[in-house]
């Protein structure tokens, strides 16, 4: 029996644009489990990012509740949510928004120090993570203006993991990368998932989706279906076929 990390009850989100109310998320009841690599797929405009922002406490739902470890987070204030995020969540965005006046190491530390004051331990962990994503000590001293997009995305992953979050949220982390550097990033995420890290990732791309063990398909703000793939194995043809069939069924 898997442990529930996050669950939603009747989660709805609507925006009013020019007077008209647009229902982007409709009555979503969802449970996310510890240790899972959950992938959210769906057409453009289906509400994937909106769901991710709601789950990660970056945005508040219009209706319904979200609980993390059986604690309701959907009624926290914006500063309360910020504290929740810094304690429990890590983020990898499509764009990385590194702070350009700081070295890569300092970028990571500044995210770590916001939650944890043990600078020595943080530096050790940052070195470990940097090594795991393949960024050398030389590169760690560089500034964001001096590195490639793939390197930036991997720094983003290090920054997301520095506080050992219970869950990492990633919104199209490979969206802006070419296939080679995208692969590096996916390998990194998979590696961390194998050590028990829970991950929720939004993607458009089948090659990325294949990494997850649980695929959710979102359509018009509701979860249309889901598919379980089991533990990721490299060059697993069956896995690929199963995912293709699922997506076909969903109308991908």
């Amino acid at each position: 029996m898997k442990q529930i990390l996050l669950n939603t009850e009747n989660l709805s989100k609507s925006f009013s644009t020019g007077g008209a109310l647009q229902h982007v998320l409709k009555n979503i009841n969802l449970e996310l489990y510890k240790g899972d690599f959950t992938v959210i797929m769906g057409a453009s405009g289906a509400g994937k990012s909106t769901l991710l922002y709601a789950l990660s406490g970056m945005d508040t739902p219009s209706l319904g509740t979200i609980s993390f470890d059986n604690q309701v987070i959907s009624d926290l204030t914006s500063d309360g949510l910020a504290v929740f995020r810094r304690k429990h969540c890590g983020f990898v965005f499509q764009q990385i928004y590194l702070i350009d006046g700081m070295s890569l190491m300092d970028n990571v530390l500044s995210a770590g120090l916001v939650a944890n004051n043990d600078r020595k331990a943080l530096i050790l962990r940052a070195r470990e993570l940097f090594q795991a994503v393949g960024i050398s000590e030389e590169t760690q001293k560089k500034f964001p203006g001096q590195i490639s997009g793939g390197e930036a995305q991997r720094v983003g992953i290090v920054r997301a993991l520095i506080n050992s979050p219970e869950i990492v949220f990633a919104d199209e982390p490979t969206g802006a990368l070419n296939s080679k550097t995208g692969l590096d990033v996916l390998n990194t995420l998979t590696k961390f998932n194998e050590t028990g890290q829970s991950i929720v990732m939004v993607t458009h791309d089948m090659r990325s989706a294949r990494r997850g063990n649980r695929i959710l398909y979102l359509k018009d703000g509701s979860i249309l279906g889901e598919c379980h793939l089991g533990k990721y194995v490299h060059k697993d043809e069956k896995r690929h076929e199963k995912l293709s069939a699922f997506l076909l069924e969903m109308g991908w």
Binding site: M58, A82, C89, I99, D100, M102, V114
Partner: protein, 608 residues
């Protein structure tokens, strides 16, 4: 703390120039603030410290006559008054006189005391600052020590109608009568010289009375009632008095002016620093909307982001203002020398914690406010909108000077576009430049008026500076004026006297008489109404009028030695000498009260 440090270091890396200018501005401002606070908070206190040490009086007065005979009445009058704390009655020689000083002339009422007696008075003590082996001669207030007036050197002192040569034996300090701005000035003579002057007879004997009262703020009222009592008893005796508030404020005029000027400049500079800081923050937030949003997304609260800015600028302010305040101690000795040459009261510089910490508090407080105000904008940054790229980092609300529709050539059109789209920054730069140039002009004028050409400054505080000033006895006036009328070099000439009269129902006033006020250079002295023209008119100081609810057109009664006459108020003057207890009368007007016996001054302006 650590995350603040990282954020701050990254901010500083990007804004080195701005940080340097903020540092410099705050340093300058702290420098001046500390000087101002030292002058304002401690400098005048020094007067009170001295006052205590010399057990100085709150009201001092001299009245011509035999002190032994007057003593019973004086004691009785003083003892009767509940405000009196203690008093001391002494004999002195009391006469107007003058001596050369610093290229000009000191001309005032001298209270001449025997040295030993002066040093041992229980109230209103005199303190010797410099003594010497000379045993026969004169001691002068320390303010008069110059190259020409120094120990061992001879000095000619005119007392009444006699010029007497003395050897300078030393210098002393006396709080209530130790300078030319106290209303009267003590001189000490050695025993032999005192007896000699007494026998010459040019300086009549007088009683010199020092009174301490319970509440020093009542000094002026006390002085007024005392004068009324004395002039009723001795209508013909010449009198002169002075009080704590008059002396303490007039000895510290330069300190007051200096601290006003310095504080104004300090606050100007601080204002610029604050504008630079606030505009820097507005800029920073605008340019980093997305990054700030991303920081919020990874868990920074708005308060943490604001705090890191507060922390950054407060540390800059703390460092710069400590250095600035510390540096002000380097300049303070020079200011102190300047001040002492006017107050005549020595001041020892020491570290003053209160001004120092108040300076830091003012600067850090205002800087924190200037940071906090614009950084409230951080609260409005929505992390989701930032991540979606939905925040506009610049407001391209308007396309200024559309190129398709303009006749302006490309280069100026682009320049205009750039300056219009950054209009906010440009306005701030404009304001900064404006305030800066204001300060520069202000300081340049101050320097010019106070250091290079002090005529306008002197006109401001002392009124008129003639080319020559001559004292003349009443009986020689007519002949002298006739002679002068023949002299082609003379542009204008007028007579004036300064004496005391009593306002019935008020206090005693210093009256300045002039034969014709239309000749006075600074016609602005009378800023409301006009100078007295006829013998029933009077102009009074606006301050005194306000305090006594007097209006132009009111009639007031004046008396001198028992004679009384009414006058119409024709105007208000800006004169604040003698704490505003001042009025102007025509010579004819005064003649209704008494005849002019003492010396008149004649001011002469030469044609150039």
């Amino acid at each position: 703390m650590g995350k603040n440090f990282l954020l701050i270091r990254s901010n500083l890396r990007k804004t080195k120039g701005q940080t340097a200018s903020i540092l410099a501005l705050i340093l300058l401002s702290a420098f001046m603030l500390n000087i101002w606070l030292m002058l304002a908070m401690d400098y005048k206190q020094n007067f009170d410290r001295y006052h205590n040490r010399l057990n100085a009086e709150h009201v001092a007065f001299a009245i011509n006559g035999d002190s032994d005979k007057m003593k019973p009445f004086l004691s009785e009058t003083l003892e009767k008054d509940k405000r009196t704390d203690s008093f001391f009655i002494d004999r002195c020689l009391f006469m107007v006189g003058s001596f050369d000083y610093n290229g000009g002339e000191v001309n005032m009422e001298f209270i001449i005391l025997e040295k030993q007696a002066a040093l041992t008075r229980p109230i209103g003590k005199t303190e010797l600052i410099e003594n010497s082996r000379y045993t026969s001669g004169i001691y002068l207030p320390m303010i008069y020590k110059t190259g020409d007036i120094d120990i061992g050197k001879p000095i000619d002192i005119m007392i009444g109608n006699q010029t007497i040569n003395y050897t300078v034996c030393g210098f002393f300090n006396n709080l209530m009568a130790g300078s030319h701005n106290c209303g009267m000035c003590t001189l000490l003579l050695t025993e032999d010289k005192y007896q000699e002057l007494k026998s010459i007879g040019c300086a009549p004997e007088a009683a010199f009375v020092s009174v301490k009262i319970n509440d020093k703020t009542e000094g002026e009222d006390f002085e007024a009632t005392l004068k009324n009592a004395l002039s009723a008893k001795y209508p013909n005796a010449r009198m002169r008095s002075t009080s704590y508030s008059l002396v303490s404020s007039s000895r510290y005029i330069s300190q007051m002016i200096c601290s006003a000027v310095v504080s104004a400049m300090a606050f100007f500079v601080l204002l610029i620093a604050l504008v630079v800081i606030a505009s820097g923050i507005i800029n920073y937030i605008q340019e980093n909307m997305e990054k700030l949003g991303a920081l919020k997304a990874i868990g920074y609260t708005s308060r943490q982001l604001t705090c890191s800015l507060l922390f950054q600028f407060s540390s800059i302010a703390l460092i710069a203002s400590s250095v600035g305040a510390a540096l002000s101690y380097c300049l303070f000795p020079a200011i102190n020398d300047m001040m002492i040459s006017q107050t005549g009261i020595p001041y020892k510089i020491y570290f003053l914690p209160a001004p120092f910490f108040i300076t830091l508090a003012i600067i850090i407080g205002t800087v924190a406010f200037a940071v906090w105000l614009p950084s409230r904008k951080i609260r409005d940054i929505d992390p989701v909108a930032a991540l979606r790229g939905g925040i506009q980092t610049h407001s391209f609300k308007r396309n200024h000077i559309p190129l398709e529709g303009t006749q302006i050539p490309l280069q100026p059109a682009l320049a205009l576009k750039a300056s219009l789209s950054g209009i906010r920054q440009n306005i701030i730069v404009c304001i900064t430049m404006l305030v800066l140039s204001l300060i520069v002009v202000f300081s340049a004028l101050m320097v010019k008026n106070v250091i290079f050409d002090i005529t306008p400054f002197l006109n401001l505080i002392v009124g008129e500076t003639a080319d020559s000033c001559i004292n003349i006895t009443a009986d020689a006036e007519d002949r002298f004026l006739k002679d002068m009328a023949k002299d082609k070099r003379i542009e204008k000439i007028y007579l004036y006297n300064s004496l005391e009269i009593n306002h019935i129902g008020g206090t005693s006033l210093t009256a300045t008489l002039c034969d014709d006020f239309s000749k006075v250079n600074n016609q602005m002295v009378c800023f409301k109404g006009r100078f007295p023209k006829y013998d029933n008119e009077i102009a009074i100081a606006a301050k005194y009028a306000k305090e006594n609810n007097l209006e132009i057109g009111d009639e007031i009664a004046l008396s001198v030695g028992g004679r009384q006459a009414g006058y119409l108020i024709s105007g208000f003057t800006q004169i604040t000498n003698n704490l505003g207890k001042d009025c102007l009368l025509t010579r004819e007007g005064y003649q209704k009260l008494g005849t002019l016996q003492s010396l008149s001054s004649i001011s002469i302006w030469r044609t150039m």
